[in-house]
């Protein structure tokens, strides 16, 4: 057993986290220095940093501050920091979750090279195609237990998925004839200054979403998706009411509660702490968003039976597994909690559903249930806006896909025309800012 991270480093284990452990206000070199034992001078270290990054085709300027860098560049810092210690064993946790397809391809080239140099790589991912492409052996975990070890190249994506879920995954089926109706969510030239330092400014965002339609918003994390969600939900208000129109009513100045009363529903990315209060019961979390418009409150008094009924209905309709009837939100697994949250909103029969990362960190079985629910909701006539970093997910459920880059939204493409290459270029900002594209994608 290891005594701590420093012993792991000493023994030659390098680690690249899914969530970057970087200080935004420090430079690249300073961040790297923090992860080393500090035996060499800062100047020598910076020189070696430039050298290592050049050798592996991971260009980095040691003097730039982290907050100025793209997500792909930030990941390069993490990888270079690990490589600086000349690790024998490198662990990567979901490294492509935040990359464009082109950036992911670049990463795979680097990983192949590290493998050829005789380093062992542990690659943690739920993206089965990547595992098949990259890995020599795969160990499959389910619910904290080892289920199988196999050669992924001899398996199909479907057989791997079966092992992951422990059963057949429901095929997600879109209704063959979805009719689009009137515009239910319209965004007109929405611009919003960032609310915090290093936040993203939303610039001139416009789109129209009709009933019966699913619009996907792709993009690398941190390009303004969170800010757009806050502006659409009313957690942040716009100055001009006409910038957000819900069901034909100018709502840019309305609170989240008033927007819910207009028929809008929202599912944020963070399940615990944003979508739910972790240490409160599910019935109370049903009340959290249901108090506005679902008949759970009469003259200021809570109708406990009505909140419990919502829990029961969500449990039944979306197969939420839990230990008792009304447990605390934090005691549910990620997938089950997400099914509850999506269920809680869909059971309100919303006219507009804005959902962010609907299946982030969710097991494949729950993901299929959630995607099907979004499709069914659209079929029933609602307008659905899905923000996701998972292009496969958007390809599966969205009718049109737009890409968010640096706070701007591209014109939506029909899903049939939106190839991974096209989306990847937009995610790198190519058609919006040609100069940036070469920098971000061509590295």
């Amino acid at each position: 057993m290891l005594s701590g991270p420093s012993e792991a480093r000493r023994r030659g284990i390098g680690l690249v986290f899914q969530h970057f452990s970087l200080f935004d206000n420090l430079t690249v070199a300073e961040n790297v220095a923090l992860g080393l034992d500090g035996r060499e001078s800062f100047k020598d270290m910076s020189a070696r940093l430039e050298q290592v990054s050049k050798i592996y085709g991971l260009p980095l300027d040691p003097r730039r501050e982290v907050w100025q860098l793209s997500v792909g560049e930030r990941q390069r810092i993490e990888i270079v920091r690990a490589l600086m210690q000349d690790p024998k064993f490198l662990i990567l946790d979901e490294p492509t979750a935040v990359l464009t397809p082109q950036e992911a391809d670049q990463l795979f080239i680097v990983l192949e090279r590290l493998k050829a140099e005789g380093r062992a790589i542990l690659y943690i991912s739920h993206k089965l195609e990547e595992v098949k492409r990259l890995c020599d052996t795969a160990t499959i975990l389910r619910g904290g237990r080892k289920v199988a070890t196999c050669n992924p190249r001899l398996e199909t994506a479907a057989s791997l998925a079966r092992m992951m879920v422990g059963g057949e995954i429901r095929e997600v089926k879109a209704a063959s004839s979805r009719k689009t109706t009137v515009p239910r969510l319209v965004v007109n030239d929405l611009s919003l200054a960032p609310s915090e330092a290093h936040g993203v400014r939303l610039e001139h965002i416009s789109f129209e979403l009709k009933g019966g339609e699913i619009l996907g918003i792709a993009g690398v994390a941190g390009n303004g998706q969170d800010e757009l969600f806050a502006a659409l939900s009313g957690e942040r208000l716009a100055k001009d009411p006409g910038t957000v129109v819900i069901e034909g009513i100018a709502a840019g100045h309305l609170s989240i509660t008033q927007r819910r009363r207009l028929g809008a529903a929202f599912v944020p990315e963070e399940r615990l702490g944003h979508g739910t209060a972790p240490r409160m019961k599910l019935s109370e979390n049903a009340l959290l968003t249901g108090h506005a418009a679902s008949g759970m409150v009469h003259r200021g008094f809570i109708d406990t039976a009505a909140t419990l009924k919502t829990v029961d209905r969500a449990t039944e309709t979306f197969d939420v597994r839990k230990a008792k009837r009304d447990p605390e939100a934090a005691s549910l697994s990620g997938g089950n909690l997400q099914k509850f949250i999506v269920g809680r909103e869909i059971l309100r029969n919303p006219a507009v559903l804005v959902v962010s990362q609907p299946t982030w960190g969710v097991d494949a079985g729950a993901a299929a249930v959630i995607r099907q629910a979004l499709l069914d909701l659209a079929t029933a006539g609602a307008a659905v806006l899905v923000t996701s970093q998972d292009l496969d997910e958007l390809a599966e459920i969205a009718d049109r896909i737009a890409v968010m880059f640096h706070g701007k939204l591209s014109a939506p493409l029909a899903t049939s025309e939106a190839s991974r290459e096209k989306l990847g270029l937009l995610m790198g900002g190519s058609s919006l800012e040609p100069k940036e594209a070469a920098h971000a994608v061509g590295a």
């Binding site: 057993m1 819910r260 702490g273 979508g275 739910t276 109370e284 409150v297 200021g300």
Partner: protein
């Protein structure tokens, strides 16, 4: 083997009830040691503290009288604390309420004012307490000033203001220069429940406040709002609840209750305005609020228990010459143990084996 704290999947309801009792038990053990160090017989001291006051009717009434302001203030504080607003200045709001209510009593003294005097005093005291509590609340919301500091500092302002009034403009001309107002007229006095006893109407008001808070927190959307803003601020904003409005509201309510407690104390057991009307009720109420698990019924029980320590402390001082400061030591130790035991609600102790295996083949 090694003892570690491990996070529980779900908060333990049993421990939430047991934790205050455990804290009281640990406090008593500590007190026994303290008594022994002081050279007093611990058993006799414990008897004087906890048993003797329960054996005669006068002491029982006195416990209820002492518990009345503690419970009223603690209920208000619990609403603040549940909403993550840290009102530490209830003592000041208590004093300002007492001053504001006394103003009517002083101005109507010796006139033939009618039965409106006492209700007017109660209303004015509550309003003054609320306004006084709004100062730190507004500073917090507008300027981000720490409400812990500002509310605490305003305690001393209120204390000295009261001191000035009873030594200056409001001093009883026939009071031999003592810093006190004249005794209040009967219309400006809180009526007693038992003729010739000590128990007064304020205790009934305190019980009504407990009931109202219990209903508010368990059954109403406002109560839910208070709980969710404190427990998960971001989720609360997503739910459409405004944390800043709630800071203002909970401070105002807790200030009003503290102010009301202040005037009831002055117009009830004390009977006139003077310095030292509070033996630190506003601060002891913080202990009451936490010992009662920020739960209205729990606060009622905790308030009675701490009132017992006040009365018991007096008895121990008279009977055994134990300094009255020991009571404050007792209350401080109790708060310490309550907060410590609370970690067991979310965590549990676990024994893990600490013999490390040497990894094979690595490094």
């Amino acid at each position: 083997m090694q003892l570690v704290l491990e996070k529980r999947a779900e908060r333990s309801g049993t421990i939430a009830l047991v934790s205050p009792l455990l804290a009281i038990g640990l406090t008593i053990v500590t007190m026994v040691i303290l008594f022994a160090i002081l050279g007093k017989n611990p058993l006799l001291a414990l008897h004087a503290y906890f048993i003797a006051p329960l054996t005669d009717g006068y002491s029982l009434q006195e416990i209820a009288v002492k518990a009345t302001p503690l419970v009223m203030i603690a209920i208000g504080l619990s609403l603040c604390y549940l909403a993550n607003a840290w009102n530490i200045g209830a003592e000041g709001q208590f004093l300002i309420g007492a001053v504001a209510g006394s103003w009517i009593a002083v101005r109507t003294q010796g006139t033939d004012a009618g039965a409106w005097v006492l209700p007017a005093m109660l209303v004015l005291a509550a309003a003054a307490g609320a306004l006084y509590a709004l100062i730190p609340a507004i500073c917090k919301v507008k300027f981000g000033a720490s409400e812990i500091l500002t509310s605490l500092m305003l305690v001393y302002v209120a204390d000295l203001f009261l001191d000035y009034l009873v030594r200056g403009p409001w001093r009883d001309p026939h009071g031999f220069n003592f810093p006190t107002t004249a005794e209040f007229d009967p219309v400006a006095t809180v009526p007693l429940l038992i003729e010739g006893g000590r128990l007064h109407l304020g205790s009934i008001i305190a019980l009504l406040v407990v009931a109202a808070a219990a209903i508010l927190l368990a059954r109403t959307i406002k109560g839910f709002e208070i709980r969710v803003v404190g427990a998960a601020p971001r989720a609360a904003r997503f739910g459409g609840f405004n944390a800043n409005q709630l800071i203002i509201l909970t401070f105002a309510v807790s200030g009003a209750l503290a102010g009301l407690a202040g005037i009831i104390e002055v117009a009830g057991p004390v009977g006139h305005l003077q310095p030292g009307i509070s033996p630190g009720y506003g601060f002891t109420a913080i202990i009451v609020a936490f010992l009662g698990r920020l739960n209205p019924v729990g606060i009622l029980i905790a308030g009675l228990f701490l009132a017992l320590t006040f009365i018991g402390g007096e008895q121990a001082q008279i009977a055994m010459k134990i300094p009255l400061d020991v009571t404050k030591v007792f209350q401080g130790i109790l708060l310490f143990y309550v907060l410590a035991c609370d970690s067991l609600i979310l965590y549990r102790f676990k024994l893990v084996s600490s013999n490390r295996q040497v990894p094979r083949g690595a490094g």
